[in-house]
């Protein structure tokens, strides 16, 4: 396949500098979850950057400017494409980079380049745009099933409110206890909140963004923003870290103007409600729990303290930390849509999280991401180590009242 088109058209200027600035020191490999489970340096961050430099050199280097672009070696293109899509885009490599490369944003940008070159995405990731176009979510599940299976009957949603809740596709279809917990807690706080009807609450765009397929993004985001704006929303609450990440960092870019509302992660909203006395725990939990920071929440948008504030507010609870926590947390394996293609890697990464939680003698592993929730639960099936896995709002909701259905 001929590939003479520029490899830097989709990159930001600073990302071109980042590719040049990598010293190939390899420090990042010690923090890479893919390396933890594969031990394969050919899919490591410095190797990806080395290969991508060759693409740039072939098409835009000095020699190519004088003598014309060369075809990039097809095997190298295939190797790079596989490596960049095997990555979970967790960004731990960048967090520990001696130069400070922002890899959580660089890898998706390189994926976008590969999509423009007709090489990405890979496997079932390629089906997502069609699924989202067809049903509004990447799982291609019917909109009628988006809320119905988990939404508690007693919780009332108003038509218009300054506060809105976005459930997100993974939460709604793959992590029902989590989103059920979300709405129960929002209801208990007592502020009226609104939601879009299931057929209007479409994908936030993150799965498309992260796999480099940007064509539908502007349309999806505009529909969502206008939907919330029409309901008078001033604060949009969401529990999915990936949704929250794209909402804060990228929605304004695709919407082409500042959003008419602010974005809050549910733990921020709940932490404030606890501080203001709007939410009180009625039960005690004599347990030792360990909290896993989702990559796109901690490293991605800096929400680190609020989930801990919520957990520490539960009477009787003892909170443990993973060795790597906060902005240094280790990916649970479900990031970057890699789990859809490299399933075994994702399961092995999930088991590392479980193993550490068990080794630390935690009674319960607390998560706050639907993708983590779905994948770590899946990882535990057939695994020698077992632990109770609970979403943070699932736990919170169970602590505030005892007689809910």
């Amino acid at each position: 396949m001929k590939n003479k088109r520029s490899f830097t058209q989709e990159l930001l200027p600073q990302q071109i500098l980042e590719i040049g600035a990598c010293t190939q020191c390899g420090e990042c490999l010690k923090h890479c979850p893919v390396q933890d489970v594969t031990g394969n340096p050919s899919v490591s961050p410095p190797e990806k950057i080395r290969m991508f430099r060759e693409f740039i050199s072939s098409t835009e280097g000095l020699k190519s400017r004088i003598f014309g672009s060369r075809d990039v070696d097809q095997k190298l293109l295939d190797d790079f494409t596989r490596a960049v899509y095997e990555c979970t885009t967790c960004g731990a490599c960048g967090q520990n980079c001696p130069v400070g490369i922002f890899t959580q944003r660089l890898w998706p940008a390189l994926r976008k380049e590969m999509v423009k070159h007709g090489l990405g995405p890979i496997g079932v990731q390629a089906n997502m745009p069609k699924a989202i176009m067809h049903s509004g979510n990447p799982y291609d599940k019917p909109a009628s099933e988006r809320y119905r299976p988990w939404f508690p009957e007693r919780v009332k949603v108003v038509d218009r409110s300054e506060i809105a809740y976005y459930a997100g596709c993974t939460g709604a279809y793959e992590a029902e206890p989590m989103v059920r917990g979300d709405v129960l807690v929002l209801d208990a706080i007592g502020e009226p909140f609104t939601m879009l009807p299931p057929e209007e609450e479409v994908c936030c765009g993150f799965p498309l963004f992260i796999t480099g397929q940007h064509d539908q993004l502007q349309d999806l985001i505009t529909r969502l923003v206008q939907g919330y704006e029409a309901r008078g929303v001033k604060v949009l609450i969401c529990s999915c870290p990936c949704c929250v990440n794209i909402m804060t960092r990228d929605w304004p870019l695709f919407y082409r103007k500042p959003l008419p509302f602010t974005i809050r992660h549910i733990t921020q909203y709940v932490s404030d409600a606890i501080s203001a006395g709007k939410l009180r725990f009625r039960k005690e939990l004599r347990e030792t729990v360990i909290y896993h920071d989702p990559c796109y929440l901690s490293r991605g948008v800096g929400v680190i303290e609020e989930p801990r504030n919520v957990l520490r507010s539960i009477p009787g609870l003892t909170l443990l930390e993973f060795e790597r926590h906060g902005p240094n947390s280790r990916c649970c394996g479900s990031g970057g849509a890699a789990r859809k293609v490299f399933h075994e890697n994702a399961i092995a990464m999930g088991r590392l999280t479980i193993d550490e939680a068990v080794a630390k003698k935690a009674d319960r592993l607390i998560l706050s991401c639907p993708a983590c929730y779905a994948k770590v639960n899946e990882s535990m099936m057939g695994h020698k180590n077992q632990i109770r896995i609970t979403d943070i709002m699932e736990l919170t909701s169970s602590m505030i009242e005892s007689d809910w259905p």
């Binding site: 200027p13 600073q14 071109i16 500098l17 980042e18 040049g20 600035a21 010293t23 190939q24 020191c25 390899g26 420090e27 490999l29 010690k30 390396q35 031990g39 340096p41 490591s44 410095p46 080395r50 280097g61 000095l62 520990n96 980079c97 001696p98 130069v99 400070g100 490369i101 922002f102 929250v244 804060t248 960092r249 974005i263 809050r264 992660h265 921020q268 948008v301 800096g302 929400v303 902005p327």
Partner: protein, 229 residues
Amino acid sequence: MGKILIAAAYGAFVVFLIRFLAYWLIWRKTVTVMRLGKTAQTVRPSVKAFALTVMDVTFFGRLLMVNPVLWVGEWVFHVSFLLVLLRHLRLFLNPVPSCIWWVQTPGLIAGYFLPFSLAYILLVRLLSKRERYASPANVFLLALVLVISSLGVVMHGLFKPNLVDVKLFVLGILSFTPASLPESTLFAIHFSLVLVLIPLLPTHIFFAPIVMMEARKREQALHLVMHEK
């Protein structure tokens, strides 16, 4: 042999210059685009971010945070390399500025530290079980500088070439009036290996300070992504 080395020296310098120029053009174009792309929302570097960047560039602060064992070797290597380069300037300049005379003794001491620091880095990189990756290109460069610096130590301590001849040879190249190669096989090897090194120097690393500054700005601003100012 002398003529071949002189021709190779010009070739190596031209290759280095072209690579440096190419990277400088990318750097300039990128920085211009970044400036044009600045908006009211663009985070301006705080004094703290700037100070941390200076620490990152001069003391490899980020490397210290992630790998203190390697940091020791890397920092000693880079400081020694700089001092040795400055000490060598007495062979390239005539008259020699007084500041270059001042660095002669530190440069001499650094010359002895240099191969040891390189050997240390290579040992950590290649033998430590904690290290998972060693770029073949980096290992080659480090090994090359190790051989060059070891030859320098041997020449200084045991088989000193005639420094007047060395200076005439170097100045001859710089002034396009070639002089004969000094009669020292070790010097010929040392000089040849330097010519191999020059085109391979990682000039793209000059991008790093901007990336480091952006990283510090980003880290300072992370808390503001979803929190009120």
